[in-house]
Symmetry: C2
Subunit: 300 residues, 2 copies
C-alpha cells in the first residue's frame, strides 16, 4: 500500500505552497519532506510535483491528493467510531471550495452548527464560481459550491438555489452616466467593476439585457465586498448579489439601473461519492440553509 | 523598437489568463494573439510565456510586462498633455497590488478622489501582505501596499502607517476555551483562523505574546471578512484588524483575549521610479489617507 506519511508530505507541500512551509507544518526537516516526496515518486515511477515555486501537483499528484483526502476522511470516521472518547477532543478537517460571493454571504452561517456540533474545521479555498469544481477535480477539496450543473466523475451534485444579482449604482453615478438610460453609448463610457479575468458575468449581463457586446471601461476588484464598497463610493456601477446590499435600495444609497432585470445564478453543491457522516451532515446543512436564503427558482 | 502590439498581446494573455480570453479582450482572433507572441519571442530569441494553463510570463516576459506598464503610463500622460479634450473622455488605468486587509478597509476610500478626479481606473491584484511586492517585481502592477520596508530595485517606498491587530473572540468562545487564560493548554485546543498557507501572523502572535510554538487547530478562510464573520459566529478566535471590528468591543459581541497586547503591522507603499503625475497623485492620496486611519507608530 501507499505510505500515508508520503501522502501527508505531498498534501502539506501543495497546501502550504512549499517544502519549507510543509516541513514547519509537520514539524519535520525540509530534507525529510524532500525524501518522502522522492520516495513516493520512486515508488510510482513518475513525478508527483513540479519543482516550481509554489510546487504544483502533476496529474499523478492530483489523483494521489484526491485519494489522500478521502482516506483521511474515512479514517477520521473510523477512529471516532472506535474511540469516541479520543474523538471528542479532536477536530475533523474538511477542505471545501467556495465561490467568493457565497463565502461573503450565506456560507459560514450555513455551516456554523455542523462545525460546532461535529467539531469540524473547514479549510475554505476560493475561486470563481465557474472554477471551484476544478479545485475538487484537482484533489484540493472534498466538495465545492459552484455553477456546474452536472456531477464531475465520481462525484454527486445538488441544486442549492439561485443567487440573484442586481445592476446597481449611486443616484449621482446614474445621473452622470445613465441619464439617457442603459444605452450602448452610456455603456461605452460608464466604468463597471469586474472580479477578475475569469469573470464573465458582467459582459453576459450586458449582452443579455442591453444587447451590448462592445468594450466597457472597468476596474478590477478581487473581492465581493470591494464591489459593494466601490459602488457605494460612486466609483462604478456593478452587478451585486442581493444578499450583500443591506438596506441600500430602501435608503436610496444605491438604485437599480434596470428594475425588474436581474441575473439568477444557479449554485450547486458538489462532493465526492464517499460514505462519511461528516460530509453528509455538511451537505444537509448547506442544502437546508441555502433553501432559506437562495432563490429556489429552478435553473434555466 | 519593440512592437507595442506584441507587448499588448503579452499583457492581455497574462492578465486574462489565456490566449482565448486575450483574443476576446482585444477583439482579435486567437491565432492573431499567438502570432504576436511568437513574433515577440522570435525577435528576442527566447520564450516570453510558459505554455501552461494559465500561461505564466518567463523572466524575460516579466521584464517586458514591467516595461509595457511603464510605457502605457507615460504614453497616457503624454496624450493627455497633447490632447486634453480627447483625454477628458478616456480613463487611465493602473494595476496595483494590495493586501487583503487594506482592500477590506481603507484602500478604496483613500483612492476615491484621485480615481474620480484623475479619471483613473484601478485593477487591484490581491496577495498576502508579505508577497504583494512580488506582483510588482513580476511586472503585474505599477505599485503595491505591503510589509516590505525597503524599496525593490528600481522602485521607491514610503511608510504608510501600522495596521493594528487584536486577538478577539465571542464571550462564549472565551469562556469555553480560555476560562483559565491564554495558556498553552488552551491554545492547543481552541480553533483559530488562518488566512492561507502563506500567513504567519497568527503563529508569530502566539510565539510573541504567549511563547507558544506548538500546533493549534485552525480553519482556513481566504478573506478578512470571513475572519470577522467566523469569529462573530463563535467558530474560532482570531487576529482582526481594529479597522474591521466596528462596535463589537463596545457592544460586547467580541472581547479582547489579551487586552493591551496587539500586533502593529507596518505597511508601505511601493511604486516604480517613473515620472507620472497620476502615480504621483495616487502615492500622495494613499499617504494622506493612510496617515489619518493607520497608526503612525514608527516601525520597530
Amino acid at each position: 500500500m501507499l505510505d500515508p506519511k508520503q501522502l501527508e508530505a505531498l498534501s502539506a507541500v501543495v497546501d502550504s505552497g512549499g517544502f519549507d512551509k510543509a516541513a514547519r507544518k509537520l514539524f519535520l526537516t525540509q530534507s525529510a519532506i524532500s525524501q518522502r516526496i522522492r520516495q513516493l515518486e520512486e515508488h510510482l515511477g513518475q513525478p508527483v510535483l513540479t519543482r516550481t515555486s509554489p510546487p504544483e501537483p502533476t496529474v499523478a499528484g492530483r489523483l494521489l491528493l484526491q485519494h489522500y483526502r478521502q482516506l483521511s476522511l474515512m479514517e477520521g470516521e473510523l477512529i471516532s467510531t472506535l474511540r469516541p472518547d479520543a474523538a471528542q477532543h479532536a477536530f475533523s478537517k474538511l477542505s471545501v471550495g467556495v465561490n467568493a460571493d457565497s463565502l461573503a454571504t450565506w456560507f459560514l452561517p450555513a455551516v456554523q452548527s455542523v462545525m460546532q456540533q461535529g467539531r469540524l474545521l473547514i479549510d475554505v479555498m476560493m475561486d470563481d464560481q465557474d472554477y471551484t469544481h476544478e479545485l475538487m477535480r484537482a484533489g484540493h477539496v472534498v466538495g465545492c459550491v459552484g455553477t456546474r450543473p452536472t456531477p464531475i466523475q465520481g462525484g454527486e451534485c445538488h441544486f442549492l438555489g439561485c443567487m440573484r444579482y442586481l445592476c446597481l449604482a449611486t443616484p449621482a453615478f446614474a445621473a452622470h452616466y445613465f441619464a439617457d438610460g442603459f444605452t450602448p453609448a452610456a455603456l461605452a463610457q460608464a466604468p463597471a467593476i469586474i472580479f477578475s479575468g475569469k469573470d464573465d458575468l458582467h459582459s453576459e449581463f450586458l449582452q443579455q439585457f442591453a444587447g451590448y457586446t462592445g468594450s466597457t471601461p472597468h476596474l478590477t476588484l478581487p473581492t465581493p465586498q470591494g464591489f459593494v464598497q466601490a459602488t457605494r463610493l460612486g466609483l462604478a456601477y456593478s452587478l451585486l448579489p442581493e444578499l450583500m446590499i443591506d438596506d441600500d435600495l430602501h435608503t436610496g444609497r444605491l438604485i437599480d439601473l434596470l428594475p425588474g432585470q436581474c441575473i439568477d445564478m444557479p449554485l450547486y453543491w458538489h462532493h465526492w461519492r464517499v460514505e462519511s457522516s461528516l460530509t453528509q451532515a455538511l451537505s444537509e446543512a448547506l442544502q437546508t440553509h441555502a433553501a432559506k436564503v437562495l432563490r429556489q427558482t429552478p435553473p434555466g
